[in-house]
Amino acid sequence: MIVAERKPMDEIVAMLAPHRKVLVLGCGGCVTVCLTGGEKQAELLAGQLRLAARQAGRTLEAAFDCITRQCEREFFDNLTEDPRTYDAVLSIACGAGVQYMSELYPEVPILPGMNTTFLASNVAGGVWEEYCRGCGDCVLAWTGGICPITQCSKSLINGTCGGTNNGKCEVNPEMECGWLRIYERLKALGQLDNYRTLRAARDHRKDRGGGVRRLVLKDMAESQESGNE
């Protein structure tokens, strides 16, 4: 799932400074699950913003709403509030939601309330950790199920660099060396051959190098014109 964290309050306050009437819009998807951008957070943030404005001697009308997912058009039909009646919308979905909504409501400024951070797994109650970079060319089959793109600070694909210090990464000594972990895991699996195999350079067009990535499912795809009208 996608993890996003709320932006620092000062930044949000500055972003909203020109507006008198804003809608804080939560998303019922990923950000609800990571407890940062659901309806409850939208409610609390709206309250906090009203208070902040009052502290600053301004008046701010801030309402909240939430829909199932901000990255799907149909769910916007379920809005209780009409974004067009607001000076701005502060979306607390991930960046996908914010942008998608901007497309749907070109006349309304849709502002990001969040910093979208990573693709995560939930490692304990209230704790999420990055597990995947969405590189577009998954290597987990030969890395013992541990992602070197994510877990190695340099995203190397051919084993440890020379900077491993007692199992820690030279870039970030807090972090375990991803490649050491891969090595240990491959050893345990009896698959050290995978470690010894030299891998060809990666095709970065599948990652970020090829512009906006799309998934078009031939058997399901509607024409985009009708989809976006």
Partner: protein
């Protein structure tokens, strides 16, 4: 149970309607379906005034039932699976008697509909009259005795039901525009035909079972052989009959126990109850039997009287044969005797308490049909007799039962009368919402134990000498504490499945491990303990409370803040689980200046949203008065509350407000003085912000 969605919730309008989706067993099994859980919850917060209104909404004889109800609610209370049933009847007794007749709301409606006559001012007749008045009819109740109330007024002994307690109910009912005419016996002073010609559009017969059954045995006509109702009624109207010193009561039911215990109080030196049944077969409630035994009543089991032996004009004994069986194989009453085994039980007075039967005198001159056994013909589906404008309810047509059952019958008849007089077909909907299921033992094991508050009963030796009540009313503290034992069954959490994101938070915060999350979260209502922890923590606002709602509290606090006027204001949220009744909703003189106290049964449902709103609505700061470990009725609340306070403090910090405005103290279980000191200290810190 159907799953709930936000659309359905909107359609229901009020989230309290959710309580109608499933009933707690106490409500379900109450014959009038009083909203037990709701009034107990109000009592748990010391909101006596609202509690009595909830009780009286369904139960006109609230005070009487507070004393004498056979309480099927308690028999079905789910708390019994944890420790002991909630003392529902005793809480009700406290609430109704504390409020009296005038302390409960009287809802007067315009009574511009037809006049209706009711025959008999017992529980059934009065309940029917009340509902008819509330429906806009003009009811007049005719009662042959000089007092209204039926058996509770004329036969239930005052040591169990003091007259002034009964009068509270009668006065409250009459305040709704119910006219009672006493001293008029229908069939003698007036006939049913007279009532019709006087313009009553419908008549409700609620004459109960006014005659005592007797045994056709030699000696039964002796003047010292008392039919039980004559005996009890005489005692109730302060014309205590003369009895000797050695009394035999024939019968083993509750009425026989009342007669025997009354005979003890009239000074008899020996009182024995003789019954066909063995001890464990007796129809009397266990507690009636044991209280009677404590007061010195003896029992002669498995004996059937054949003869009342009279010598020189005086009763000297009851001859009784052995009972070989009471019930047949199908548990039908079918006694068999051994005529060779006859004993002679010495006595000088006999009270026949073997059952009551209807007095059909009201029928005089009327063509109403009777069945082959001489009982009034009536259609239980409509309450109509053979004359469609004449209805019947209460014990005359039902099996002998209880006050509350008679009320239920009267209420149902009133609906029938209303449909009839409105020219509609009489269809009485008896369907009820489903009842919440049993609580699993492993859930019950997680509920903190709290023993039932005992009612102080006078020593048998003392109470047998007078007619004063045998036990004391709860104190306010005991009533409140007892009410707090209620687990609010069915008043817990419900998931709006369209909003749930399956985030697992509810599952993680529930102290009782109740939610199950698959595609969405599901909370099994029969297991949920209604702590509300998940409601407050759900990031999707996808969980709602079936009972008191956290959003409702936000509104209340806002209104109180708005009403508090100028000057510094601090809201103190107090976990009142340990506080005495007097401290709840602290009275004006006790309140600390500038502090608005919000009392909660637990701080489990106090969320960041509520507290943030309070600040937004004008509070300068907040003091949360929580308890120490175990100081809250639910596990883990203390830790959770500390985190919520930290979250709110951080939120204030982010917008440049001093986090010190939010104070958390842990002295909810240390008494009012400690609490006041802590609030004063915390308020000082807030003032310095």
């Amino acid at each position: 149970m159907d799953e709930l969605t936000s659309g359905e919730l909107k359609r229901l309008g009020d989230s309290r309607m959710l309580m109608q989706r499933e009933w707690s067993p106490c409500r379900y099994h109450c014959p009038v379906h009083a909203d037990v859980r709701s009034y107990i919850e109000l009592a748990a917060r010391g909101r006596w005034r609202e509690a009595i209104d909830v009780i009286r909404e369904r139960l006109p004889f609230a005070s009487v039932c507070g004393r004498v109800c056979h309480h099927p609610c308690e028999a079905n209370c789910r708390r019994a699976g944890v420790d002991e049933a909630v003392a529902i009847r005793e809480v009700k007794r406290f609430v109704s008697e504390q409020q009296g007749a005038s302390g409960a709301t009287v809802r007067r409606v315009v009574q511009d509909k037809a006049p209706v006559a009711i025959v008999g001012a017992g529980p059934a007749g009065m309940a029917a009259a009340l509902d008819l008045a509330l429906l806009g009819y003009r009811p007049t109740v005719f009662e042959k005795f000089a007092v209204a109330g039926g058996i509770p007024a004329t036969a239930i002994p005052p040591y169990r039901l003091p007259r002034d307690v009964l009068q509270q109910d009668i006065d409250w009912i009459c305040a709704h525009g119910v006219t009672v005419v006493t001293g008029v016996e229908i069939g003698k002073d007036k006939t049913l035909a007279d009532l019709k010609s006087e313009g009553f559009a419908a008549i409700v017969i609620a004459t109960g079972l006014a005659l005592s059954r007797t045994l056709p045995i030699p000696g039964a006509n002796h003047e010292r052989v008392y039919p039980v109702l004559d005996f009890l009624t005489a005692v109730c109207s302060d014309r205590a009959p003369r009895i000797g010193s050695d009394v035999v009561v024939i019968g083993g039911g509750n009425v026989a126990m009342d007669a025997a215990r009354t005979a003890v109080r009239l000074g008899a030196t020996r009182v024995r109850a003789m019954c066909l049944e063995a001890e464990d077969e007796m129809p009397a409630w266990d507690w009636e039997r044991s209280e009677a035994a404590e007061e010195g009543v003896g029992f002669i089991h498995r004996r059937g009287p054949t003869d009342i032996v009279i010598r020189d004009g005086r009763i000297v004994a009851v001859a009784a044969r052995k009972v070989t069986r009471v019930f047949d194989a199908d548990h039908r009453f079918d006694p068999r005797y051994d005529d060779a085994d006859v004993v002679s039980v010495e006595c000088d007075t006999v009270i026949m308490a073997i059952g009551q039967t209807a007095d059909m005198g009201f029928l005089a001159g009327s063509p109403l049909a009777k069945d082959t056994r001489g009982r009034l013909t009536y259609d239980s589906a409509t309450h109509q007799t053979s004359d469609p404008s004449i209805f019947a309810c209460g014990e005359i047509v039902t099996a002998p039962g209880s006050v509350v059952e008679a009320c239920a019958s009267g209420q149902r008849a009133a609906k029938g009368v209303d449909l009839f007089l409105s020219g509609k077909p009489i269809r009485l909907a008896d369907a009820l919402p489903p009842v919440i299921g049993e609580m699993a033992p492993d859930t019950a094991a997680k509920v903190s134990k709290s023993p039932r508050n005992a009612v102080l009963q006078r020593a048998a030796d003392e109470r047998r000498r007078d007619s004063l009540p045998i036990d004391a009313n709860f104190t306010a503290d005991a009533a409140m504490h007892e009410a707090q034992r209620c687990m609010g069954c069915g008043g817990g959490a419900e998931v709006l499945i369209d909003k749930c994101a399956a985030c697992l938070t509810c599952l993680r915060v529930c102290p009782f491990d109740i939610p199950v999350v698959t595609d969405v979260a599901r909370i099994e209502s029969s297991l949920c303990q209604a702590c509300g922890m998940c409601i407050v923590e759900c990031p999707a606002n996808a969980i709602v409370s079936r009972s008191w709602d956290t959003r409702e509290e936000i509104g209340n606090t806002a209104a109180r803040l708005a009403g508090a006027g100028a000057g510094p204001k601090v809201v103190a949220y107090i976990n009142g689980y340990h506080a005495p009744a007097a401290a709840w909703g602290a009275s004006a003189e006790d309140a600390l200046p500038g502090v608005l106290e919000v009392w909660l049964p637990s701080v489990s449902r106090l969320g960041v949203a509520e507290m943030l709103r309070a600040i937004e609505n004008g509070a300068d700061g907040i003091v949360v008065v929580a308890g120490y470990l175990g100081g809250d009725r639910y596990p883990t609340v203390r830790e959770r509350m500390a985190r919520r306070v930290e979250q709110l403090r951080a939120m204030l910090g982010e917008i440049g407000m001093n986090p010190e405005r939010i104070q958390l103290v842990h002295c909810a279980d240390e008494g009012r003085d400690a609490m006041r000191r802590a609030i004063v200290e915390a308020t000082g810190k807030i003032a310095a912000c």
